[in-house]
């Protein structure tokens, strides 16, 4: 048999030493590609024409499948679909070098991808219908001059609740812990949304990285925890199964919930007075896409008024384009317009920014401490 305890420890130490040696040898090297191409690569022009199948990478169920089928038919190409379930996961696959044609990053991730030369520039002049996008998106904070992307959907975070079950709402984020929800309150399992909410409640900037303010937010969250029944981003399931009566969620999720229950009028959305996070994601074409022409055609196809309107009705999120899509979403939430994201909301709403370095670590630490408390 193998040598005893000491022998095994030796091996473990050997492993540690090897790890250390490996680390020293690689010290300073990054894990995976941090940039994809050069600045010129991102600026290389391409024709808006079919140049192959569309390799599509998105959240699941985030585009009406009939639209995808329609695109296939119109241009005679196939849509090869892959899904991710979080932004970091998407980034990991992109960094691994897989050549997708069209992706849908969130605003913060768009900014990161652009700074790493991951995205190609898109000529809006070539993109029919790009002029119908809301004026607020002409100079987005994440994409200077809107050179690389065009928005896909927008969202707002608020409190979804069952008007027939919940009482004592005051229009504040604090309602999550204070309202009478029969102990069925949930919050999102998202560090940005969680700490962000606490920041807003305390009257601070959504993206603050001040240590004192973050401590305050952590305290608020830790106090809130015992009043919560769960922490989940699976908001649709928890509300439709009756598990949750009051929940921090995104407005589009509420639309999907209303679609699935027998009494949609009872499900309402509260935009809290301390401020609401708003955001959006974008259409983007990676720099190593093999079929950028097809991708551009796809984007153009998706923002056609009838298609966008149809998409809005299917996914339940508003798209910031005048005309068809705007009216479609208004129709969806006619009985509770607060679910919509209006121009005013975009103006007044708070947007999550990319946190860097120490600030990011501070947020992570706070969230971890909250989770383990």
């Amino acid at each position: 048999m193998s040598p005893g305890w000491e022998g095994r420890l030796d091996r473990r130490e050997l492993l540690r030493a090897a790890g250390l040696a490996l680390g020293t040898g690689l010290a300073g090297c990054a894990l995976g590609d941090t940039t994809r191409g050069s600045l010129e690569d991102t600026r290389k022009p391409f024709k808006k024409a079919v140049d192959g199948d569309l390799v599509y990478f998105n959240w699941a169920q985030y585009v009406d499948p009939e639209l995808l089928a329609g695109f296939e038919k119109r241009y005679g190409v196939k849509v090869r679909e892959s899904n991710f379930d979080s932004m970091p996961a998407m980034l990991a696959k992109l960094r691994a070098g897989i050549a997708y044609d069209v992706i849908f990053p969130s605003a913060e991730f768009t900014q990161r991808l652009i700074s790493g030369h991951f995205l190609r520039e898109i000529d809006h002049d070539k993109l029919k219908g790009s002029d119908t996008v809301y004026a607020e998106f002409a100079q987005p904070w994440y994409d200077e001059g809107s050179k690389h992307t065009i928005p896909y959907t927008m969202y707002a975070t608020g409190l979804g609740y069952r008007a027939d079950k919940v009482s004592g709402l005051t229009g504040s984020w604090r309602d999550l812990g204070n309202a009478d929800s029969g102990s069925r309150s949930f919050m999102l399992d998202d560090f940005q949304e969680g700490i962000g909410m606490a920041n807003l409640v305390n009257g601070h900037d959504l993206n603050t990285t001040d240590e004192g303010e973050l401590d305050e937010s952590l305290d608020y969250l830790v106090d809130l925890k015992p009043k919560l029944r769960g922490i989940t981003s699976d908001t649709v399931t928890s509300m439709t199964s009756g598990n949750a009566w009051l929940q921090q969620l995104w407005n589009g999720d509420l639309v999907n919930i209303r679609n699935q229950v027998d009494n949609p009028e009872d499900y309402k959305f509260q935009k809290c007075k301390e401020g609401i996070p708003v955001g959006n994601d974008t259409f983007a074409i990676p720099v190593n896409a093999n079929h950028p022409g097809t991708a551009l055609l796809f984007i153009e196809y998706m923002i056609e008024p009838e298609n966008a309107a149809r998409n809005v009705e299917w996914i339940g999120y508003p798209m910031p384009y005048q005309g068809g899509p705007t009216e479609a979403f208004e129709g969806l939430v006619a009985d509770d317009p607060s679910i919509n994201v209006t121009a005013k909301d975009l103006e007044n709403g708070h947007q999550f920014r990319n946190l860097r370095g120490e600030g990011r670590l501070a947020w992570d630490r706070a969230w971890t401490e909250f989770k383990v408390s």
């Binding site: 680390g23 009756g242 598990n243 383990v372």
Partner: protein, 277 residues
């Protein structure tokens, strides 16, 4: 060819595969645990020990203990539930043995998530079970829901090895034990149990180890207090994008588990050898 060379020859392909395709990548990850993240969140190799310092922060201890506790409870329940079922099928199954054991495995061919969501539908406050009982018991978002989910997910891992061991066992041994010890429980205790111990051990390993690192059950069925080590590690890699710290946490957790597991296996194997002798 002597036994040694033959045996080594046989084990080499598997061993090499594990070495190349598992140990090496894990080495990469171990290396990164000494690293740090840069401004943009990219993981960089380094020679720092910060991550390990952080990993040993006492604030994580409850999470680790809870995970181990849940996993232990899962193992115990799996043995308590799985052994009788395996026994019934192996000893009394007769003609239907094959069908029965196939039935045990069958649910596992339905996607794990789909099954779990079906449980959520059943156990929800307005779900089937509460409907039948005509009450409003909170089953979900509790520690027992998590353990239940874990047991349900890993039960087959316990039943199959025990079944294989029981099935192999010569019924004549049980007969002999009967004659020797007189009662069914003594027979079980002195004959059947020691003989099937390797199967139980195999089941324990297959259930306990993955259960500690499980994150799905806690995420879907648990409440805010049911945060497990698997969720913590998941969070570092996904949400926090702090791969070095995630790697360090993983290393610490794995080392901790492996040490106990190896000790336990050696002790139990020794006992089994002595009992069967």
């Amino acid at each position: 060819m002597d036994e040694q060379r033959f045996a080594i020859g046989l084990l080499l392909p598997g061993a090499l595969w594990l070495l190349l395709l598992f140990a090496v990548p894990l080495g990469i990850l171990l290396a990164i645990s000494f690293g740090y993240t840069d401004d943009l969140g990219t993981a960089i190799y380094g020679t720092r020990l910060d991550n390990f310092e952080q990993a040993f922060d006492p604030v994580f201890l409850p999470v680790l203990l809870r995970s181990v506790g849940f996993a232990l409870a899962t193992v115990v329940l799996c043995v308590l539930i799985g052994y009788p079922v395996a026994y019934y099928i192996a000893v009394f199954g007769g003609r239907f043995k094959n069908v029965l054991i196939a039935l045990v495995v069958l649910p596992f061919f339905v996607n794990y998530l789909v099954r779990t969501y079906a449980w959520i539908a059943m156990l929800g406050d307005e779900g089937l079970v509460n409907g039948v009982l005509d009450r409003n018991v909170q089953f979900l978002n509790t520690p027992w829901a998590v353990i239940g989910g874990l047991v349900y997910g890993y039960l087959a891992f316990m039943i199959l090895p025990i079944y294989a061991a029981l099935d192999r066992m010569d019924p004549a041994l049980r007969e002999a034990g009967k004659d020797l010890y007189g009662g069914p429980w003594q027979t079980f205790r002195y004959v059947t149990w020691p003989h099937t111990l390797p199967g139980v051990l195999a089941g324990t390993v297959l259930v306990f180890l993955p259960a500690v690192g499980d994150f799905v059950a806690a995420q879907l069925l648990g409440g805010p207090d049911e945060y497990m080590v698997g969720n913590l590690i998941q969070q570092q890699f996904f949400a926090a994008e702090n791969w070095p710290f995630g790697a360090a946490l993983t290393t610490v957790m794995m080392a901790f588990l492996l040490i106990w597991m190896v000790l336990y296996l050696r002790a139990a194997a020794r006992e089994a050898r002595e009992a069967a002798a």
